[in-house]
Amino acid sequence: MNITRKIMRLFFLIIGLLSSSGVWAEINSLAILSKIDSQVSFVDSDFSAEIAMTQTKPGEGISQRTVALFRRDREQKFVMLLLKPESDRGKGYLKIGNNLWLYETIPTRRFTVTSAKDRFQNSNARNSDFTRSTLALDYKIVSMGKEKLGPFDTTIYNLEALHNDITFPKTKLWVTADSLVRKTEDYSLSGQLLRTTAMPSYQEFKGRFVPKKVTIIDALLGKTLNGVFKNETTEYTLSKLSTDPLPSLIFTQSYLEKNSQ
């Protein structure tokens, strides 16, 4: 009896220590974010899709792009090839591990080192938006709450960056019970809202989920038209989804060079 009590005391002591030291919270945070990551990652197969992107700059008009996306999440590789407009055809991005290159064709054909934090082709999307989701590696949950988001009952997670290789140091996620992110707000370190992203609907594909349409609203950039401030927005949809194996050659610089010719 004494021994049982001692074991019970020890158990609660350990639980108490874990809770007070934040270790439990970290383990919990890791589990939640890993679940969110796993819902949208294709670690068991390659993934490819076609992205149709529309960039709206108030007062300046609309520009459209079509991009081919190839991902090999298990090796942290991805390639994006610009298909339209014709003037950008041949341009591309290649990410291998932590290195990201932009291949340009004008004025000369060359690779330049770029960053996942940079804007994708001057849109409101960042290069990191198209790579594998790595929330569990990049962020920790610092607080959470509940909120109704349109038709969705969501849990809000306030995240803070674990390292400086991420695009935004603070992020807020609205996540439904199926661990799908429906909305994000990205903030600067001081708490300035920088952009809002909405992913209201997903398509289930080979046991994973891919957003049907993503809308990114830049919180700072835009224009006042007729007395109303209109934000710059970028919308994109994913189609032609595939998990067919991709040749390894795709994830090389020579492929981008060859593709541009």
């Binding site: 108030p58 934090k117 960056a161 400086n164 290789d165 695009t167 935004f168 140091p169 600067s188 370190l189 001081s190 300035q192 920088l194 700072l220 950039l221 835009g222 224009k223 006042t224 401030f229 209109k230 934000n231 710059e232």
Partner: protein, 427 residues
């Protein structure tokens, strides 16, 4: 002799007048040319000194490069002990990355340098900016105040009092923002790149640096001081006190040395303003080279003109020379007489040109060139500041005087060499 020369000069002035007019014009042009060059040089250097922490600055080139100055006291002591004519001190924290942006009402603009000023030291110097709107308040400086160039203000459509967001990356690599209130718009050509100014503590906070951090320490010197020799003097003092780069003289030189010899502890470079102004120095040197070429061409023309004119004058005054020689005047006296007249011509023409040139410079200073954005870098409040570089002007006038004298030597000698009897027979 002087009296005879003066009398002859007045009596023969109708023969000198074309040459005199040319000399007056030459002196006028050179006074204006050197005055404008000196004005532009002075103005651009003054603006550059405000942009780059003064005439002499100290930077930390340790590796990796965080630029943070840890040995401020030793550097200040070196400034003090150098015995220089210090007009003002500069104490700054800088952000010099490619991603600094100002955002206002949906528009963003990249800033090349975001400069955090310690207003307790830089207030007087910064107040010399040509403010077009707002400026520095008489009381305490607002910690959220922001001062931008007119170019930046126009592109962002921002007015004094508007709230502007500054986006930077912290020293730890995180994207960060701070809301600032536009407190002033100053005239600037942005030749050195867009720069905006704020309180250094505010900048340090948004960069995640300790509040009192500084990354540039410098001094502005009194008028006419040589920044190169001043920097060398400071360097000699500083190298005995703290680890210092060998004398490199230029920013590129400092980078090259530091890249070749990476040192993890603070190691300082002392740089003169000229060491950071390669393009400007090249431009100024080019202007001076063109000036020198013009002076040379003009002096050659003057020498030929003087020679020809005096040939004619000596020819026309042959009988006069014959009479003077018949009355007992020596050859040397005749030569001296002609040369004294030429000196008078040179002197009076130069002085007249100088006076007219100074007047032209003053008039030029009254013209408002504010509309020309390209010229703004060289202008003070949109105008050419009055400058009268006496060394340059005096040198040119001296050489011009000498040229006039030289041009008259051969005709004077030839005139004096004639026999009085031949000269008197001359028709």
């Amino acid at each position: 002799m002087l009296g005879i020369a003066w009398r002859n000069f007045i009596l023969q002035f109708h023969r000198y007048r074309v040459l005199a007019a040319a000399l007056v014009l030459g002196a006028l042009v050179f006074t204006v040319l050197f005055g404008v060059t000196a004005s532009l040089t002075h103005t651009v250097r003054e603006k550059a000194a405000r942009y780059f922490s003064g005439d002499v600055m100290v930077l930390n080139f340790s590796h990796p490069r965080d630029w943070i100055i840890d040995d401020e006291l030793a550097i200040r002591r070196a400034f003090d002990e150098a015995g220089l004519d210090v007009a003002s001190h500069h104490r700054r924290s800088l952000y010099y990355e490619t991603d600094a942006k100002l955002v206002f009402n949906g528009t963003s603009l990249v800033q090349r340098r975001v400069i955090g000023l310690d207003f307790s030291e830089e207030r007087d110097n910064f107040s010399q900016q040509e403010f077009l709107e707002g400026g520095l308040p008489k009381g305490p400086i607002p910690t959220d105040g922001l001062w931008v160039s007119n170019d930046t203000a126009q592109r962002l459509h921002v007015r004094v009092g508007d709230e502007v967001i500054l986006m930077v990356k912290t020293d730890q690599g995180f994207r960060n923002t701070v809301s600032l209130r536009l407190a002033g718009v100053f005239q600037d050509s942005s030749f050195f790149g867009f720069a905006s100014y704020l309180d250094y503590r505010t900048l340090n906070r948004v960069l995640g640096r300790p509040e009192e951090t500084i990354t540039e320490l410098g001094i502005s010197l009194g008028s006419g001081a040589d920044s190169d020799s001043a920097a060398r003097t400071v360097w000699r003092r500083l190298k005995d006190a703290v680890p210092t780069l060998p004398w490199v003289g230029t920013l590129d030189g400092a980078y090259a040395w530091a890249d070749k010899n990476p040192i993890s502890t603070p190691t300082y470079a002392v740089l003169p303003l000229s060491g950071r102004l390669k393009q400007i120095n090249d431009l100024i040197e080019a202007i001076y080279a063109v000036n020198a070429l013009l002076v040379l061409v003009f002096l050659v023309v003057v020498a030929i003109g003087v020679y020809n004119t005096y040939q004619m004058i000596a020819f026309e005054r042959t009988r006069e020379v014959g009479t003077m020689r018949a009355l007992g005047m020596q050859k040397s006296a005749v030569i001296t007489l002609f040369l004294t007249e030429s000196l008078m011509l040179g002197f009076l023409s130069s002085v007249a040109g100088l006076i007219l040139g100074s007047l032209a410079l003053w008039l030029l200073g009254q013209v408002d060139f504010s509309g020309n954005l390209l010229a703004q870098m060289f202008l003070a409040k949109g105008r050419v500041a009055f400058a009268w570089p006496w060394q340059n002007v005096a040198t040119v006038l001296g050489v011009m005087w000498l040229t006039t004298l030289t041009g008259a030597v051969v005709p004077a000698w030839r005139a004096a060499a004639q026999r009085p009897v031949d000269a008197l027979r001359h028709e």
